[in-house]
């Protein structure tokens, strides 16, 4: 009995003093942190609030006798998004969040909300949180969410799901009918970047900082190198040389920096393309150009990153997910849902997809889901015209990078010398989706 000591007043006081002191200290630290985030985060909730109040006002107008609990006349659409990174990553997730804002602004009668930085292993629960929050449509924006999206879709057959960058959908026959998949495909833009690279390279060597050795990245590398070879060979008669450095991560600025420096220093590359979610590679190119007296070029990836390397920015690949999202909003809201497997290329979601003359080309403007980055004036004007011509041709699918045409009339061979594309062939979707070989101009090996 006696051994169990009760809490004495003194102890209690000591403890609560400790708690108070600790609380104040922690409060100071954490408060400082909160202050730091204040600027960026206060804007979002504020905007949402004004929108809601506007709706209430418009609704209370017609309902004279009804109390203030009137609902909006048409059911307000609710859309939830799952993001893999923070919305401020200035890469992949930033672009998706831009797409969300675009679709919301265009559609108006919608409330959208999102959960960011969701790890793959926790995505199923996050998706269910959105459903619980009343979402009619859930859009999951990373490859790693594919299985969990299909799983939750099977559990909620009256809700709709869109997964970005995967291969499971009702349309493809490997997911429930209420699941669609969508992707904005870059290989055409990478080819155009390659043309720009081949037009400016002095060393005849291009580098690629690559995320994962998966078909998506492999076809982008191949397209880039094919384009670079096209321009470089036409200029000099020699083949381009290309080196690839793998990060095994989508987001790793530290490794990307090391890889970019190695490609410049060891491989003598002077144009660097990349698949990584930050502007790091472009920043490295900028440093070499402005501080180390060595001209190195790089690109925009997913967003216009030109401000990160004003002197090193050649062009780039930029995406606008908004039109795709808007399409799904409309389908869900109007009850015209159909499971689809969308793979947008240049020309898709454009109101006007006829080919224009190179002088009137919309290359570089916001048009459809894919945008070519600003063309640096350092690209010789004949190559600027050639790039624009190819862009315009691709709107009508008159030109395909993975064709003999895209390789100066030569068949496309892999590293072993095996002919992969010849005659009038074009890479079909199956070949693009399963691409596991490098074109002959690449010196690095493809890890298996």
């Amino acid at each position: 009995m006696e051994k169990k000591s009760r809490i004495s007043r003194r102890k209690f006081l000591a403890v609560s003093t400790g708690a108070a002191v600790g609380g104040v200290a922690a409060g100071a630290v954490v408060g400082g942190l909160a202050g730091y985030f204040l600027g960026s985060s206060q804007a979002a909730p504020a905007v949402t609030r004004t929108v809601t109040s506007e709706v209430t006002r418009t609704v209370t107008g017609p309902g004279a006798t009804v109390t203030t609990t009137v609902q909006a006349p048409a059911k307000r659409l609710k859309v939830g998004y799952i993001y893999v990174g923070p919305v401020g990553d200035y890469g992949w997730t930033f672009a998706h969040n831009d797409g969300r804002k675009f679709a919301d602004t265009a559609y108006k009668n919608v409330d959208s909300f999102y959960i960011e930085s969701v790890p793959e292993a926790q995505s199923a629960g996050a998706i269910e949180s959105l459903i619980n929050q009343g979402a009619d449509l859930v859009i999951t924006t990373s490859f790693g969410y594919m299985d969990s999206t299909a799983e939750v879709a099977a559990k909620y057959p009256d809700k709709y799901f869109v997964h970005i960058s995967g291969y499971r959908s009702g349309a493809a026959g490997n997911a429930p009918q209420n699941m669609s998949s969508a992707f904005a495909e870059f290989y055409q833009l990478y080819y155009l970047n390659g043309l720009a690279a081949g037009a400016v390279t002095q060393t005849g060597v291009v580098g690629y900082v690559a995320a994962f050795p998966i078909p998506e990245v492999v076809r982008h590398i191949n397209a880039f190198v094919l384009g670079a070879n096209y321009a470089y060979k036409k200029r000099t008669g020699r083949n381009i040389k290309a080196y690839v450095s793998w990060l095994f991560s989508w987001f790793d600025p530290g490794k990307a920096r090391e890889a970019a420096v190695a490609l410049i220093e060891q491989s003598n590359a002077d144009v660097l393309a990349f698949t990584e979610d930050t502007p790091t590679t472009l920043q490295v190119a900028e440093e070499y150009t402005t501080q180390k007296g060595r001209r190195v070029w790089s690109f925009s990836h997913y967003n216009d990153m030109s401000s990160y390397g004003p002197n090193a920015h050649l062009t780039g690949q930029i995406v606008h997910w908004g039109p795709i999202y808007l399409d799904f909003y409309r389908m869900v809201a109007t009850g015209t849902w159909r499971t689809v497997d969308i793979w947008t290329r240049i020309g898709d979601y454009m109101p006007y997809r006829w080919r224009r003359s190179p002088e009137q080309s919309t290359a570089g403007q916001v048009d459809g889901t894919l945008q070519l980055g600003k063309l640096n004036p350092a690209i010789p004007s004949e190559w600027q015209l050639e790039i624009k011509m190819r862009y315009e041709e691709m709107k009508e699918l008159l030109f395909e990078p993975f064709s003999v045409d895209g390789n100066l009339g030569e068949p496309i061979r892999d590293q072993k010398g095996e002919v992969r594309i010849k005659g009038s062939e074009r890479a079909d979707r199956d070949m693009l989706w399963n691409m596991d070989w490098f074109v002959e101009y690449i010196e690095s090996e493809l890890p298996r």
Binding site: K4, I7, A14, S129, D147, Y167
Partner: protein, 354 residues
């Protein structure tokens, strides 16, 4: 006038509980203050947090997210009790995943055993794989006196790249369009098919293990040796504790439980193996969980579920209140910081010296 820290003597359970309650309450105050600054009603945020533990769906989700952490933390309570600073739960979790996935792949391609034996085999082998991976640095410590912290830590990277190799190479799903994924586990190799939800089988199993561990540490000679070893290495040696044997046994248990954590990830949550970038450092978080549980096996599972609930609450709060992810991290960090401060003030008192 100055402040002085003094060590307290023994303290009772009631005292300990009271301190924890006070500090958790304080953490809500501090977090609430931050949310008020961010322009959100603190009451809303904290209400969302509590709702997570009250609804069946979110509680199950919290348990699911906490399970891998719970198993790994259970193992760590053993390791830390004997002063074996295992930072390698991450790697041991990977090895557990590898073993579990290996069984599924072998069975899928060659059909080793009847289907119903696959899951038990996965359990045994993932335990062994994680355990042996942890026993390796324990062996180095016992035989050569190598400090375990660096080897356990470095082996995490070895395991990371091993998983990366397997998933980009031989274990890649041939029908997966080249994406780094294993095949989807068939139903008989998944934990959620046993009782309908992974948590229904995982949480009771974790509690049974906690009970066994508690009994083992408190009432068996081997457990006693571990405690002695943890309290004073020299004294333990002098008293004739078989140090090598004790270290190996303890590390086998510690790593083995982390390996089971790996099993719950692939067979319970994901349903297939993914590249290591998908797994968000469970092994490191488990260290926090183990200390949150004050190295008490009984508390490891509730602590893990509590943490899982914080993760779920993070999603709910983001979705409902439009708060950015860093705000959620601040909430989680504040709660953890205060609990750990509470642990500190259980052991020390602050005195004003004039």
């Amino acid at each position: 006038m100055m402040l002085k820290l003094e060590k307290r003597g023994q303290f009772s359970r009631k005292f300990s509980a009271a301190v924890t309650v006070i500090f958790v309450a304080a953490s809500f105050l501090v977090a609430g203050l931050i949310f008020e600054i961010l322009g959100v009603r603190a009451v809303d945020v904290i209400a969302r947090l509590f709702e997570v533990y009250l609804s069946e769906r979110t509680l199950l989700e919290a348990a699911l997210r906490g399970l891998p952490l719970g198993f790994a933390a259970l193992g760590l309570t053993v390791a830390f009790k004997m002063n074996f600073w295992n930072i390698g739960a991450e790697g041991q979790i990977y090895l557990g995943m590898v073993a579990a996935t290996g069984v599924v792949l072998l069975h899928a391609y060659y059909g080793l055993v009847p289907d119903f034996l696959v899951l038990p085999l996965m359990v045994v082998l993932s335990f062994l794989a994680g355990g042996l991976y942890c026993a390796l640095p324990a062996f180095l410590k016992a035989k050569l006196g190598v400090n375990e912290i660096l080897p356990t830590l470095m082996l995490n990277y070895v395991a990371y790249h091993f998983v990366n190799y397997l998933i980009h190479g031989p274990w890649r799903d041939p029908k997966g369009f080249g994406f780094p994924l294993s095949i989807v586990f068939p139903p008989y190799a998944r934990l959620d098919t046993v009782l309908g939800h992974t948590a229904y089988i995982g949480v009771p199993a974790a509690f049974i293990i906690a009970g066994l561990l508690y009994g083992f540490i408190m009432y068996t000679p081997a457990g006693f040796e571990m405690r002695v070893l943890g309290q004073n290495y020299e004294a333990a040696r002098y008293a004739g504790v078989r140090i090598g044997r004790t270290l190996l046994l303890g590390s086998l248990i510690a790593g083995g439980l982390a390996g089971l954590g790996g099993l719950t990830i692939v067979a319970g949550i994901l349903g297939r193996m993914r590249p290591p970038s998908a797994y968000v450092g469970y092994g490191y978080t488990a260290i926090i969980i183990a200390f949150l549980a004050a190295l008490n096996p009984w508390l490891a599972v509730p602590a893990a579920v509590f943490f899982g609930g914080l993760l779920v609450a993070g999603d709910v709060i983001q979705a409902t209140l439009n708060l950015p992810f860093p705000a959620i991290q601040i909430l989680q960090a504040t709660i953890f910081l205060m609990i750990i401060l509470g642990e500190f003030f259980k052991r020390y008192r602050l005195r004003v010296v004039i």
